[in-house]
Amino acid sequence: MDRRTLDRREVDLGGYEREQLHDMLSAMLLSRRFEEKCAESYQMGRIGGFCHLYIGQEAVAVGGIHALRDDDFVFTAYRDHAQAIVRGIEPRAVMAELYGRVDGCSKGAGGSMHMFGRDVNFMGGHGIVGTHLPLAAGVGYAIRYRGGDEVVLCYFGDSVVNGGPFHEAFNMVAKWKLPVIYVVENNSYGMGTDIERVAAVDRLVTRACAYEGMHSERIDGQDALAMHAAVAAAAERARGSDGRPTFIEAITYRYLGHSMSDAAHGTYRTKEEVQAERKNDPIATFSDRLMEADLLTRGEYDEINQAAIDAVEDAAEFAENSPHPEPSVAYDNVYADEFRGGLDRRDAWR
């Protein structure tokens, strides 16, 4: 991916407190260590179903979510573990969800693709490509309806830009000035298809030009501060009754396969390409920069990293010890209230 055509240059460190920078580093390391543990647990058969890991893309989640207020809202697609944790769902609850246990953040009913955390306004965890973009617009509509000043941050993958929900949502948020920030995590591949092979546009960010009133920019998604600055500016633009939505294209890269069921490289990209991208690692470049600026010591880095490892080990142990749900919970939460006549009426022979 051509990083020479970015709209935002390096962000000055001067605007950030040391503690804030350490928090961002901590969140990125926690995400990385968490996903590494997921890969291990998946291979050992402790996690089932589809499992899409976020390794390599951490700066996109951390920079963006750290720019929000607590009362703002976050949506994402099925590659959702990191966003869930960064937004504030306990790693224990996310890991227990992956293990399909009762203490999971969705009580074990959702699994890897459906993390939800109502108390931190984390609205999922959506498994059908593009469907959550109109939902995010709806939360934006509700905010405007009530005269609030919260914003919605909605992440999605690059393959979404070619589908209908993307355009339908963009049209509505632009027309009705809804406080929504859409972030495409452009990691170059929609599953195993290079986005350049299927998108009739070079820069995905230009898709926003069709919608007047929508601000758009393309940034380096491997730079947490660029991401933070872009979302902070977007949030400011969006808040209030005359807010404007924003579309951010974050150029990023996933190191592993689309999901745990495919290889990191082979059919659609080369080993050399993955190795080259790994040299631009979002965590390494961020921590190097902080160290060069005397905002982080090697000892502090090791401490933060060890805390992340400890939290992830604790989460895995917690998940392992959390009970499996009883089969009878199958009927829970199908409806919010009574279902007349009973849901189990036609379910004989169990």
């Binding site: 999922g124 279902f339 007349r340």
Partner: protein
């Protein structure tokens, strides 16, 4: 009791509920300035303003999804589809998002939303504009599905649907909008999931919903006048949850049943009703249950063919006579 049309009953339900709860709002194609393609939302834009009566672009998946998101954030949206045929473009939003959100979030996000609009055949609208969507939605756990056949039920059920904490698919009859009927002047709420005996009779049970209530009523008149058969009409009103108890009770009394639906026979609502009857009232049946439905073909444009495809009172009479061993 005032006599009003089905359309006016729906309009009254919308107005009353929007006045009762400021979280209730309406969105869809032409619902505002144009007063609705079928004038169901007449006058509401002037009364409630554009944030509560929102004209949308023609983008069903988009505005249905927007409604779902707003419901997750605590509003109570009513999404109008100009017809249910167009809602196929929003099937993903309804099935994958609205119906699943509470379940896959472990009970955290319910979706209190109503999707409503006309379904079924009208007059010579041919294949793409005449479909009966009932089983497409009744098949989905997480959804509730209502299909009222009279003005009073349209009023009472729509009010219940708007107050419901789950997604409700509300299927109106395109040819019912002008139907007149008595409607209580006071607050009228019909609970979701409760069938109604529209006519009592001892000889055969006619099970129906939506437009077929009128068809069965005409058939029952003929059966009584010309064949000395007293038919009991069970109007399901809601097809998920299905009030099968009322059907079973009636069948235990009459020992014979004809299940009537406008839609296609294959995997139709009637198939579900027949299955329930044979499992729960097998020993009470004096004849195999008969079904009347549309023919298993897309809708034809030409009037005589269209008429032939749709279920008629004549067909219901024939089926009733058959289960009574009169032919």
């Amino acid at each position: 009791m005032a006599v009003i049309t089905y359309r006016e009953a729906l309009n009254r339900a919308l107005r009353e509920e929007m006045n009762r709860d400021e979280n209730v709002f309406l969105l869809g194609e032409e619902v505002g300035e144009y007063d609705g393609a079928y004038k169901v939302s007449k006058g509401l834009l002037d009364e409630f303003g554009e944030w509560r009566v929102r004209d949308t672009p023609i983008a069903e998946n988009g505005f249905a999804g927007l409604g779902i998101g707003a419901a997750m954030a605590g509003l109570r949206p009513i999404v109008e589809f100009m017809t249910w045929n167009f809602a196929l473009l929003a099937y993903d939003a309804i099935v994958n998002s609205a119906a699943k959100m509470l379940y896959m979030s472990g009970g955290q996000y319910n979706v209190p939303i109503v999707f409503r609009g006309p379904g079924g055949a009208a007059l010579q609208l041919s294949a793409q504009h005449s479909q009966v969507p009932d089983p497409w939605y009744a098949n989905i756990p997480g959804l509730k599905v209502c299909a009222p056949g009279t003005p009073a039920d349209a009023l009472g059920l729509l009010k219940s649907a708007i107050r419901d904490d789950d997604p409700v698919v509300f299927i109106e009859g395109e040819l019912l909008y002008n139907m007149k009927g008595e409607v209580p002047d006071e607050e009228h709420v019909v609970p979701i999931g409760v069938a109604d005996i529209k006519r009592e009779g001892a000889d055969v049970t006619l099970v129906c919903h939506s437009k077929m209530v009128k068809v069965c009523s005409d058939a029952a008149d003929t059966l009584a006048d010309e064949h000395e058969v007293e038919a009991e009409i069970v109007d399901l009103r809601t097809i998920r949850p299905l009030d099968i108890d009322t059907v079973i009770e009636s069948v235990k009394k009459t020992n014979r049943a004809v299940v009537v639906q406008e839609g296609w026979p294959y995997s139709g609502i009637g198939a579900q009703v027949v299955d329930d009857i044979q499992r729960e009232a097998f020993d009470y049946l004096d004849a195999p249950v008969a079904r009347v439905s549309s023919l298993d073909v897309p809708m034809h444009y030409a009037r005589p063919v269209e008429k032939h495809i749709l279920p008629s009172a004549d067909a219901v009479v024939k089926a009733a006579r058959h289960v009574c061993y009169l032919d």
